[in-house]
Symmetry: C2
Subunit: 83 residues, 2 copies
């Protein structure tokens, strides 16, 4: 059965405050990286799926929207590559 | 001054246990996604940098290795795109 590697990218929606990103930004400013702005911290989830491509894509779409992200606060997208 | 959008991808090294990934994997198995394996949870950090491309690239290399990741336990890579 074919095997696929997937990457799911989960980021906070632009309107949601990101205290972790703000903290990183302030730390960088103190380290003389004052030209860095707009730091946002998101998640990268890697997974392996077995099955036919069409089924795996539908499954990944569902997992991304329903399990790996909170659609109220987060945007999510995925990439699939044959292993 | 040119402005760049950077994405930094931080993932645990393959030899490091990932309890968060294991938990997601078990949750997916209970939700009838038993064909999913090897779940690993990493970080995606987005930032904006101002400056010349060569300087920004050197700066991003340094920030990625010294601030945004722990090279003992994590792998990190970055992508840069003109804003």
């Amino acid at each position: 059965m074919p095997q696929y590697h997937a990457k799911v990218f989960v980021t906070l929606k632009p309107s949601i405050l990101d205290p972790q990103g703000r903290t990183v930004e302030r730390a960088l400013a103190h380290l003389e990286h004052a030209n860095v702005s707009g730091v946002r911290v998101g998640k990268l989830i890697e997974l392996t799926l077995h099955g036919d491509r069409a089924e795996v894509e539908a499954q990944l779409e569902s997992i991304t929207a329903n399990v790996l992200s909170n659609p109220v606060m987060e945007d999510a997208r995925w990439e699939l590559a044959e292993a």
